[in-house]
């Protein structure tokens, strides 16, 4: 396997192994997050000038979808402030090794919730209310605060990071798309793990905590549920954990066998198309319906939204793969072939976000200089005029992203397909979806 072990480089290894660099980032992130909550609650109700909206939905989103996820997988989760207060309180410590006896209830999450359906639902909820959420600072402030407190609450009841694993609306799709990233955290040698006594990476030791994400590194084959918290690097007594540079989408060679994950792929795939239609498409009525949360038109929109994601897209997909015969059951083939939608879905989001982010990026400068809209001018940029950026490269960049996504998905389809069956239906499906997306975007 063609991997380059980054942790061989002493600087990288030391930086990851020490708790302090990460802690420093944590503190900055947490302060920024709380500031964003405050700005959302007390700042100007004008979204485009409110720090919370501009920093969370423009700056953070841009970094997340254009950089962090495609190149670092769950890299964002490595520095995310949301679960931190809960985690610290749960452990009763920030750095010190945990007590032997758990502080709080430390229950195991019930079996029926140990999947990502809750994340699918929480994402869809945010998606349906997104027009209000993305433009109303108050609502953004409340939602950000709610995430913080729900994470604390779940930490009090359940063990490890229940919020991240099972509820976080963002975590679900970061996990899905992190499989495409060229970064992974894996063990170096399986035999060392087999012989390892006590498995401190999972169970914790004096050197640190057991995996907060409830993952046993020794058995890890894909990025989805590893939050890159780097704790196992610190706890593994055999120096058996590596962070590797690897080919893009290496995880996708192992298709999913879970329906919740397969539907996650459809949810993200469909949501990107619907968003492009609502925000960039020419239909005023559609836009109005999406924006007037709570009205009859909005309920119609919600029903259509859900129908597209849960019936139309998976239905057409199923019909497509039914045209070819295979040895596996239809359900198995549905799940494994849905893996092919992951790279294309990511590229849909990249292409869509490019236009959204470049159009609104100029608000960042103004919000930076006057974060509470109190008339400050900290960096002299408070009056930076609104101006779409890089308009000339936008369309070519979007087209490129979509074409790359299509090719990438086609190759993924070939990889995950069982031998002897045709991938043509899946490729046609992807091609049609890409054409629709291209038409919506350009």
């Amino acid at each position: 396997m063609n991997r380059i072990e980054l942790t061989r480089i002493p600087f990288i290894k030391n930086t990851l192994k020490s708790r302090y660099p990460q802690l420093a980032v944590f503190i900055v992130m947490l302060v920024g997050y709380i500031f964003a909550i405050l700005a959302g609650l007390i700042g100007t109700p004008v979204g485009s000038h409110n720090f919370s909206i501009v920093f969370v939905w423009i700056a953070w989103w841009a970094i997340l979808i254009l950089v962090a996820v495609p190149f670092f997988g769950r890299g964002w989760c490595a520095v995310c402030p949301i679960p931190l207060p809960g985690e610290w309180l749960q452990r009763g410590a920030i750095l010190a090794p945990p007590d032997k006896r758990p502080k709080w209830l430390n229950l195991r999450v019930p079996k029926m919730f140990r999947n990502i359906w809750m994340q699918n639902i929480s994402f869809l909820l945010l998606a349906l209310f997104s027009s209000a959420l993305l433009t109303t600072p108050n609502i953004t402030g409340i939602v950000l605060a709610a995430m913080l407190f729900v994470a604390i609450g779940l930490s009090a009841i359940f063990e490890r990071r229940a919020f991240c694993r099972y509820l976080c609306p963002v975590g679900g799709f970061i996990g899905l798309y992190s499989q495409t990233a060229p970064i992974e955290l894996r063990i170096k040698d399986k035999q060392v793990c087999v012989k390892c006594v006590g498995k401190p990476c999972y169970n914790g030791s004096d050197a640190g905590y057991g995996c907060p994400w409830d993952v046993f590194p020794g058995g890890m084959t894909k990025n989805t549920y590893c939050g890159l918290c780097m704790e196992c690097i610190r706890t593994c007594p055999h120096d058996n954990i590596a962070v590797n540079l690897r080919p893009f989408s290496a995880d996708l060679a192992k298709p999913t066998a879970r329906l919740d994950e397969a539907f996650k792929a459809f949810i993200m795939f469909g949501a990107a198309m619907i968003y492009a239609g609502v925000l960039l498409g020419p239909w005023g009525t559609l836009k109005d319906a999406a924006y007037n949360v709570g009205t009859g038109a909005w309920f119609m929109y919600a029903v259509i939204f859900l129908a597209i994601i849960f019936i139309v897209l998976p239905g057409l997909f199923t019909l497509g793969i039914m045209t070819t015969k295979g040895r596996q059951s239809l359900k198995q083939r549905f799940m494994s072939l849905s893996t092919a939608l992951i790279p294309l879905g990511l590229m849909f989001w990249v292409a869509f976000s490019l236009s959204f982010v470049l159009t609104n990026a100029s608000y960042i400068l103004a919000a930076l200089s006057d974060p509470l809209a109190l008339g400050w001018n900290l960096f002299g940029t408070a009056n930076a005029a609104w101006q779409p950026m890089l308009t000339t490269i936008l369309a070519p960049a979007q087209t490129l992203a979509l074409v790359v996504g299509l090719v990438w998905s086609a190759r993924t389809a070939q990889k995950v397909n069982e031998a002897g069956t045709s991938t043509i239906p899946v490729i046609v499906y992807c091609f049609v979806a890409t054409s629709i997306m291209l038409w919506l975007l350009l």
């Binding site: 302060v31 485009s48 000038h49």
Partner: protein
């Protein structure tokens, strides 16, 4: 507890306290005056205290669309208030009283309702309601005992726009009272009927009326009136006075809606802005009557009360301009 753990805890707690405390503190220390469309609350706060001679420093921000800010009966440039931005302005009041501040941008249908007051106290002076906001003398419509809500249509209207130039050519020896009082208290139609004993033709009489009106105004006054009109009146009454401003349709609709709810008050045929190009309406109104309408406002119609905002002179300028929709004046 080990040192690093302790330090981390202190750092984190300080960070959280700062992240919560600093914005709250700074926010509480910077009182902003928020402008919203009238239907969403208008000005907040809408009462501001000030003292004579002491500069009043205001920070204004808009929570929705572009608004403007100006204080009535004060010699000041109005300022724009942009959404999410802060506009600062410093005012100094010489006289105590209750001043009215108002929105100067056509922000929405109820733009005219966006008003607030500045209560200016001066040293030992007691504020008198009205204060400087009330004209020095009793307005003419009060002393003339005019019912400004009574219908006042002119039963006769000229066939074509009366020309002041032609009126002037008729000579100065017409039996018209040249006093200012006569002009102010008479409608063009009343002057027209006062000329009934003369041998003039109907259209000549109207020309003479037009001349009387022209001689009671100045080009400066007309220009002033035009500017004030464009800023303050055109949104409803229309750029060309035809009662067809950008809000006119909305006003009519809002009027219908409110009529359905206000049973018994149907005689308030409200909301449609007056058409100043309609001769019977304007030729039947005296300057004093128009002054009353502007000063007091339309009481329940969409017409706001301007007495607190315009100076007396500004109102006369406006009236001069309104009549110019009816008369052909010398260019």
């Amino acid at each position: 507890m080990k040192r690093p753990e302790l330090i981390s805890r202190i750092l984190i707690i300080t960070g959280i306290l700062l992240a919560v405390g600093a914005p709250l503190f700074l926010w509480a220390r910077t009182p902003l005056i928020h402008a919203r469309m009238a239907e969403d609350g208008g000005w907040n706060p809408d009462v501001i205290q000030a003292e004579t001679g002491k500069p009043l420093h205001l920070k204004l921000t808009s929570d929705d669309v572009v608004h403007g800010f100006a204080v009535g009966q004060m010699d000041m440039q109005s300022v724009d208030i942009l959404p999410g931005k802060v506009t600062e302005i410093t005012l100094t009041f010489d006289k105590p009283g209750i001043y009215t501040f108002f929105c100067t941008r056509w922000c929405g249908l109820n733009h005219w309702r966006m008003r607030g007051t500045i209560e200016v106290t001066g040293g030992s002076d007691i504020i008198t309601a009205g204060g400087s906001s009330e004209p020095a003398s009793v307005p003419l419509y009060v002393s003339l005992d005019l019912d400004i809500d009574a219908p006042h249509d002119s039963p006769v209207i000229p066939n074509e726009k009366p020309s002041a130039m032609n009126g002037q050519l008729l000579g100065a020896n017409l039996p018209i009272d040249q006093s200012l009082d006569y002009y102010l208290s008479h409608s063009p139609y009343q002057v027209f009927t006062d000329l009934s004993d003369t041998s003039l033709t109907e259209s000549q009489k109207w020309d003479a009326v037009a001349y009387l009106w022209q001689s009671n105004t100045t080009p400066e006054s007309l220009a002033n009136g035009k500017e004030l009109y464009a800023q303050n009146c055109a949104a409803c009454h229309g750029e060309n006075g035809a009662g067809d401003g950008v809000f006119a349709d909305d006003l009519a609709e809002a009027g219908e809606a409110s009529m359905q709810t206000m049973e018994g008050a149907t005689d308030m045929v409200m909301q449609t802005p007056v058409d100043f190009t309609d001769p019977s309406r304007i030729l039947g109104a005296s300057p004093a009557l128009l002054q009353g309408k502007i000063l007091r406002g339309g009481m329940g119609t969409g017409m706001p009360m301007w007495g607190v905002i315009f100076t007396e002179e500004q109102i006369w300028d406006l009236i001069a301009y309104i009549y110019s929709f009816q008369f052909e004046y010398q260019k």
